[in-house]
Symmetry: C2
Subunit: 381 residues, 2 copies
């Protein structure tokens, strides 16, 4: 393809328009698929600017593969502790009042490759932003508020929990408190304007703003209302956090504030002079209030600019101007959300929770800049 | 592909993850390419929800085809009435402070297929939202404010106009007043987070929020500052509006307020009962303040809900709940922007400007609903 690039493109006829506009051969952002039927693919954060994640680059984690679903044969059953069990088709869902909102979805395990001291050992300095923090994406969702559907069905007074079950080959399922279901939960059929892609839950999925990704159940086919959580495999064997006192934290739904510098970062090589430091910050608890950047390994911090509008439970792009003088240093970022929560250091995180869990790992991350301009990951903040 | 859909997807292993997530075989939104080297492709508005347009579905109009550009050989020259002529590479541009903003880009000719009385004759009732109004798209852009680059070059006092020239085979070029260049113009390298696609101007383009699409010059390679407009072919032979008094309106840059119901619309067939009316509204002059919908051919109007945040010069999704009783009617929408401008009827538009131009055609559009549920376009408001 590159051999077809004319020396002077203004002297060659251009290409005609096409049904969909392809990416440039020189800028083919892509995810990094791992595994097979139980597998994942991480958002290529180092290739992205702004805040919106293209739908085909949004991370995914699947426990039973991506099912091939005919939307005319797929339905959503709402039953259990309701006055009137109901079945909805995609067409039915679209008859109800809908809302549009941008929010991030982040896997509880985001950051596990950067988790020194855990089963993966000391973090590799050759980790990219995609590998360090690519299990998050930020998109615009359109769907029906779940509370509207639950009002149609009529919640009984005993309904305290809701099982959300997907239509994949493992029938992935999570227990959700009814308070969240009645608050800001969405049954979404569109992402960034277009119908959900199969890997994102086509024809519709649950979206629980600010809550760990696995609760945003894809290929949603069943909502059962009950009095207690179901203790599914995915909230007992996984997505539960062993703590240092021997107990475990379960149903740790809300994602804490996090930030990552996406440039400069590994594998970039930079040159001295003025440049931008740019990254992403987000919090499951609301809006990001502040992102601070340090260009001297934490000795001093200053506020980065936040690109508005700053939306609740969504990625915000932060930027700041920096002049690199050619000497070795470490760049750090730390986010504060509107509740006043400040992103911790790795040391603080281990003091609070021990080293027994890979989930909800949100320490300050660093990038070490070498005198030759090479940039490496630092997880030991 | 559809034959591979299992009867019960929960009983078959799902597919592994992939570098990019493909669209469902059941929901393949696509543009409708026309022409060859000088051609266009319209955004499929009837297939989209929300406000974000996927980059590969964003409309395009090209006058010299889509050039194949190697970003390492592409530069931006800033010269003419400046104190210091400069050349920027993509890497140079990314060193400057950047901003992120969502805005719409709309071709001045959007609506020309719906223009009854013009050269296309009476509008076809079999027009889709894509055909009626698909020369608009709404995406998140990241780039450097043009004023930052012009400050580097140093504008001379005589600089009143700027020529923006693209690197395509026709060297497409438009003259822009310096006031706009110094206000909110962007040189953008990313759309919806990812690098621009070739059809959208890779490696960088001009973005002039609220101004007619052709001024948002793609594959930008040259900015020349001067005292007067250049009177290029594309601001004389085209993109100029003949008026009914025999004069012509030139440099009619700002796009007026517009709205369109995207569902129900042709070619849908609807059934009686409660459903959503949903559409898009936007204005080049600022924020949309209000969208009214009529379900009785204009006899009565009521306010639709606007899905927030409502952003300046960007698409906003409006929705309202409607119960169709099965009788024939016409659905209409009309937008008011924050300046108080109300979208006109076709009759008002012709009274003001005559029938000599295909540009800046923004009347109230209608959809006629037949007793059998079929929906047809109505351009005769």
């Amino acid at each position: 393809m590159r051999s077809q690039i004319p020396k002077d493109p203004t002297k060659a006829p251009g290409a005609p328009t096409t049904p969909v506009g392809a990416r440039s051969e020189f800028a083919k952002a892509a995810r990094a698929p791992t595994g097979a039927i139980a597998g994942s693919a991480f958002t290529p954060l180092q290739d992205l600017s702004g805040t919106i994640t293209p739908a085909d680059l949004h991370f995914e984690v699947n426990h039973g593969g991506v099912p091939a679903i005919d939307p005319t044969r797929h339905t959503l059953l709402v039953h259990g502790f309701v006055r009137r069990p109901l079945i909805f088709t995609l067409a039915d869902l679209r008859r109800f009042p809908q809302i549009v909102r941008v929010c991030a979805i982040e896997c509880a395990g985001n950051g596990s490759l950067a988790w020194a001291g855990g089963p993966f050992g000391k973090p590799d300095p050759g980790l990219t932003p995609q590998q360090v923090s690519g299990m998050t994406g930020n998109t615009e969702w359109t769907g029906v508020p779940l509370r509207v559907l639950l009002a149609e069905a009529g919640l009984s007074n005993q309904a305290k929990w809701m099982l959300a079950e997907g239509g994949d080959s493992c029938l992935f399922a999570r227990s959700i408190p009814v308070e969240k279901a009645m608050d800001d939960a969405l049954v979404a059929w569109a992402q960034n304007g277009e119908p959900l892609r199969p890997s994102q839950g086509y024809p519709f999925r649950l979206v629980l703003p600010g809550w760990e990704g696995s609760t945003n159940v894809k290929w949603l086919r069943r909502l059962e209302l009950g009095a207690q959580p179901w203790m599914t495999r995915w909230e007992t064997a996984t997505y539960t956090d062993p703590l240092k006192d021997g107990t475990a934290r379960q149903f740790s739904f809300v994602m804490d504030a996090k930030s990552i510098i996406t440039t400069p970062a590994y594998p970039e090589t930079i040159t001295p002079g003025w440049r931008q430091i740019s990254g992403l910050a987000w919090s499951g608890r609301g809006k990001i209030a502040r992102v601070e950047v340090s260009a001297d390994a934490g000795a001093t911090w200053h506020d980065a600019a936040l690109q508005g509008p700053v939306l609740s439970q969504a990625h915000v792009r932060f930027t700041t101007t920096w002049r690199w003088d050619g000497s070795e240093t470490t760049l750090l970022s730390r986010a504060t959300d509107e509740t006043g929560y400040l992103q911790p250091t790795r040391t603080q995180l281990i003091q609070a929770r021990g080293i027994g869990t890979l989930y909800h790992y949100n320490p300050i991350y660093g990038w070490r800049v070498m005198p030759n301009g090479r940039v490496f990951f630092r997880g030991d903040t």
